[in-house]
């Protein structure tokens, strides 16, 4: 452990913590744009500069280890001036279309520009202009808004292990792009979107659906047994975005399904009530071989029932089958979408209640 003094307050942190970690522990605000606690230190935005007693010039707090006895100043007129100039530089190469930007109100850059009151910019000059080439349905890229914080590159490489994007070119023309500047073609987990501090990366389906005043509903992802925590952003009873919070079991990370696969919620095809098949559809003879081995809702006649009715019906049928043909006439197949606990209960039910070992799981084949 090391103890240091930040803005006159003492704090003790573990060895190999950065000064930024220590300051955050004290709840001292230091502006950052490229830092992410779960990603490797980057030191690119240069906003988190601090002064250390005995050091000849300011250093970036995100890439400086806290050392015993350090005395640190996080805010001084000269530091604020440096930060302000850096921000001006970033903004001089950034579109001023916050009014229509998807991330307005949820943009770190906008927030800093607001705090520092940057209205006029002394450094107006050439800006990067790119042609859009995204044909994928998930990630919208507006690279003019990219501030090259590199969080998307790092999360794709370090957390997701994909490495679909990286830096390319040099100087002001530096950009982040897939290999050979092709269209984005990855697994579309959208992790990059979740860490982007500006409007450079957004979900395509978010567009023009609303930016604020939505209700946040905490839930668990229904897609697999991992049980990732989701935060649904609901506006007028419609889910318009899905995100996840950092203090969850999934640490805020999501996959393509969890993040972007919410379209089924409001699908008109979605089954919302239990159905019991009453008869085959007219003209379908069940004794003759069918073209498709599956019956769809269109092949059969169904009756909408309550859950009680449906469960009673299942219980009766299972009991009948077991009595008439024996336990081994029944088999159970469970789903990877169920939780571990649900799967456990299901096999327990098949083995102990039905009395057969005919139980399996979709993930096995």
């Amino acid at each position: 452990m090391v103890t240091l003094k930040i803005d006159g307050k003492k704090v003790t942190v573990r060895k190999l913590s950065t000064v930024l970690d220590a300051a955050r522990k004290l709840d001292i605000p230091i502006p950052t744009l490229c830092h992410h606690p779960e990603l490797s230190p980057f030191g690119g935005c240069r906003l988190c500069l601090i002064e250390i007693k005995g050091y000849p010039k300011p250093v970036a707090s995100c890439t400086t280890f806290a050392k015993e006895g350090m005395e640190i100043i996080t805010a001084s007129p000269s530091l604020e001036k440096l930060r302000r100039t850096t921000l001006e530089l970033i903004l001089s190469d950034h579109p001023k279309d916050c009014m229509v930007c998807e991330r307005a109100g949820d943009c770190k850059l906008q927030e800093l520009a607001y705090f520092y009151g940057i209205r006029e910019n002394r450094f107006e000059g050439e800006r990067r202009i790119y042609t859009k080439k995204d044909n994928n349905p998930f990630v919208a890229r507006e690279m003019e808004k990219c501030i090259l914080c590199g969080q998307c590159v790092r999360i794709c490489d370090e957390i997701q292990g994909v490495g679909a994007i990286d830096f390319a070119y040099r100087g002001l023309k530096t950009k982040i792009c897939p290999p050979f500047e092709k269209d984005l073609d990855c697994e579309f987990c959208g992790q990059c979107v979740s860490v982007c501090p500006t409007g450079a990366l957004t979900g395509k389906m978010w567009a023009h659906k609303g930016r604020q005043n939505f209700k946040e509903v905490e839930t668990v992802c229904p897609y697999c047994g991992c049980g990732c925590n989701l935060t649904l952003h609901v506006w007028r009873n419609e889910v318009i975005r899905v995100s996840s919070k950092e203090d969850t079991i999934n640490e805020g990370w999501l996959c393509a399904k969890g993040r972007f696969g919410y379209g089924f919620i409001h699908s008109p095809d979605r089954l919302a009530k239990p159905l019991i098949r009453t008869a085959p559809k007219e003209g379908v003879d069940l004794n003759k071989p069918q073209n498709s081995s599956r019956f769809t809702i269109h092949d059969s006649q169904f009756k909408e029932v309550s859950w009680d009715e449906a469960l009673d019906y299942i219980a009766v049928k299972l009991k009948e089958t077991k009595e008439k043909y024996g336990s081994d006439a029944v088999g159970g197949l469970s789903s990877a979408r169920c939780t571990n606990e649900e799967n456990y209960l299901f096999q327990k039910f098949i083995r102990a209640v039905i009395g057969t070992n005919n139980v399996d799981h979709c993930a096995r084949y």
Binding site: T86, I90, I147, R170, G171, L172
Partner: protein
């Protein structure tokens, strides 16, 4: 006739470009057709040798007969026959082709340590290197020195990193030695990217074995068994000769397992850089070897603790390594006494610009800038007056005449607002515009920024835009102050050395030549008459005799006038290319 004849043909990149290889084969043909090789009583050989620094006079050829050396300049293959007949066969040197006084002035005032073999031995032959005492130092280090002893010698030699930052080499090695690790690396930084600099290139091409020997000694001193030489792919000759040298070393048992018969192994590989200036920065260089994008990474750890693939790494510049064998052989005191109190030894500079003798020079640290420019360089070309010396490449600054007596070393150059850098020196005279010079260097650095940190990526671009505004006549009041603020901001906040030093050319010219900026902005005039948008060409009618040379030369048909009567330049059509100015023999055209 019992003669010992040696012919040395310059085959550095400059020499090869001027036809050195053809000259060499012409000599070899002449020798074999004259049957000299076959005569028992005569020993005659022709070698290629590395660059001796004075590339303006290439191809340079030494003819040494019984130890008496004659040097010829500007030799072409068709001139070989005459030299061979008259000089080698008959003993009468071809006097009109012999180098003049400038050649000897250029060389005699230097102190050659690193460059001592360049121009003397065949860089492609390990035996030539061994014949001048090569690999003795490495053998000594392996046979009779402990790692601590080697580190002590390097430490007390006062050798400092020749890449530009000047970190004491011995201390770096000591860190590398002390740290414990299963794997350690030694890296040689040959990613020389400054425009106009070719110090490391000449050493790698002219004396590759010295670099390798330095690395072998470093490996022994730090307990490392793996090494890389990072060379730019734009240096194909250096890559070729280093690879030849490595192969020869492996055959001789100087590299590989059990080197010099000990149980110590050292494996050396070449890694070719893809031409990014920023890869000369240590962390970017290591990322590049790792196969990642060459971008500097924050220095949470020293390279000696966690460098290449997070293993302890000692990284030194080409010139630094080339110094090592000499230090081991001649002792720390000898080297230390060559330099100043704070930094020992010599430094190689590439001297270029408006100076009479341009080329590669080596001087002891502590000589004055005046000695370099006026003694070795022979003064300013064309009777013009000296204005400034730009040192340290694009990261350096401009030093005005009042500091000509500054002694060259890391601290003193920093004091006057420049840097030692890797050793570029560009002499500027009264016809150089300082604003334009600053713009030139900034154009380079802003384009080479890796793009990682904000001040370097956007800040240098904005500075360049302001300079472009000023040189095109659109400068505004307040631009100078803005440049200064931005320059200090970039210097204070950038992540790596590239950004921190990028504003130097601007800040140093603002410090010493502020009036030039002011006249660009306020008077819309370029005092040195360089910035195109601020000058006009006109004809002095009282001098013009109407010869028509300017009219014929003008590519834009902007010159009007009848033959034998004074001409006139139409400013609307003139594209300010300066062709008429150069074409006029009577100095009747002026630019203001």
């Amino acid at each position: 006739m019992n003669k010992d004849i040696a012919i040395k043909v310059c085959a550095g990149t400059g020499g090869v470009a001027s036809g050195g290889e053809e000259v060499l084969s012409a000599f070899r043909n002449s020798i074999s057709s004259a049957g000299l090789e076959a005569t028992i009583y005569e020993k005659c050989s022709a070698h290629r040798v590395g660059c001796r620094g004075f590339c303006a006079k290439d191809v340079l050829v030494d003819v040494i007969i019984n130890g008496e050396k004659t040097t010829y300049k500007h030799i072409k293959p068709d001139m070989v026959a005459r030299i061979f007949d008259e000089h080698i066969m008959k003993g009468n040197p071809v006097t009109e082709w012999i180098v003049g006084e400038a050649y000897f002035n250029f060389h005699n005032k230097q102190t050659k340590v690193v460059l001592s073999h360049c121009g003397e031995i065949d860089p492609e032959d390990i035996n030539a290197y061994i014949a001048v005492g090569g690999y003795k130092a490495a053998k000594k280090a392996f046979a009779s020195m402990s790692p601590e002893e080697i580190v002590d010698v390097v430490k007390s030699s006062n050798l400092r990193g020749r890449g530009g930052a000047g970190f004491p080499t011995g201390i770096k090695w000591e860190l590398g030695l002390r740290i414990e690790s299963d794997i350690k690396y030694v890296i040689c930084n040959g990613d020389e990217g400054d425009p106009g600099a070719f110090m490391d290139r000449s050493v790698m091409e002219g004396d590759p074995h010295a670099v390798i020997e330095g690395m072998i000694i470093c490996a022994k001193a730090t307990g490392s068994h793996h090494g890389y030489i990072y060379v730019r792919a734009e240096y194909p000759l250096a890559v070729k000769r280093l690879q030849m040298a490595i192969d020869q070393c492996k055959q001789s048992g100087f590299l590989g397992n059990n080197i010099f018969g000990t149980d110590f192994g050292f494996d050396l590989k070449i890694f070719q850089g893809a031409g990014a200036f920023v890869c000369g920065e240590a962390t970017a260089l290591m990322r590049s070897i790792e196969g990642k994008r060459g971008m500097p990474t924050p220095k949470l750890w020293r390279s000696a603790e966690k460098g290449l693939w997070d293993k302890p790494t000692v990284l030194n510049n080409v010139e630094t390594f080339a110094n090592i064998p000499r230090i081991i052989m001649n002792g720390a005191n000898w080297y230390r006494n060559l330099g100043t109190d704070r930094s020992g030894g010599t430094k190689v500079f590439s001297l270029s610009g408006k100076v009479k003798n341009t080329g590669l020079i080596e001087v002891p640290l502590g000589v004055t800038l005046r000695d370099i420019i006026f003694d070795i360089g022979g003064g300013i070309e064309g009777e013009k007056s000296f204005k400034a010396l730009q040192t340290g490449g694009p990261s350096g600054g401009c030093i005005p005449a009042e500091f000509l007596d500054t002694e060259v070393d890391y601290e003193s150059l920093a004091q006057v607002g420049s840097i030692m850098g890797s050793g570029g020196m560009v002499v500027l005279d009264e016809t150089s515009c300082m604003v334009n010079t600053a713009k030139f260097f900034l154009e380079f650095t802003q384009a080479e920024s890796c793009g990682k940190c904000t001040p370097c990526r956007i800040g240098t671009k904005r500075m360049l835009e302001i300079l472009e505004r000023i040189t095109s006549g659109n400068g505004k009041e307040g631009d100078i102050e803005l440049l200064e603020e931005l320059g200090h901001h970039i210097r204070a906040t950038s992540l790596c050395g590239l950004g921190m030093t990028a504003p130097n050319p601007v800040l140093s010219t603002l410090r010493y030549f502020r009036n030039e900026y002011e006249s660009h902005i306020r008077d819309k005039k370029c005092p040195a008459a360089v910035c195109k948008d601020l000058i006009t060409y006109s004809v002095l009618e009282e001098i013009c005799n109407g010869c028509g040379a300017c009219k014929r030369a003008c590519p834009a048909d902007a010159v009007r006038g009848k033959r034998k009567s004074p001409h006139r330049i139409d400013p609307e059509i003139c594209i300010k290319c300066g062709t008429c100015f150069d074409a006029c023999k009577f100095k009747a055209i002026i630019k203001i």
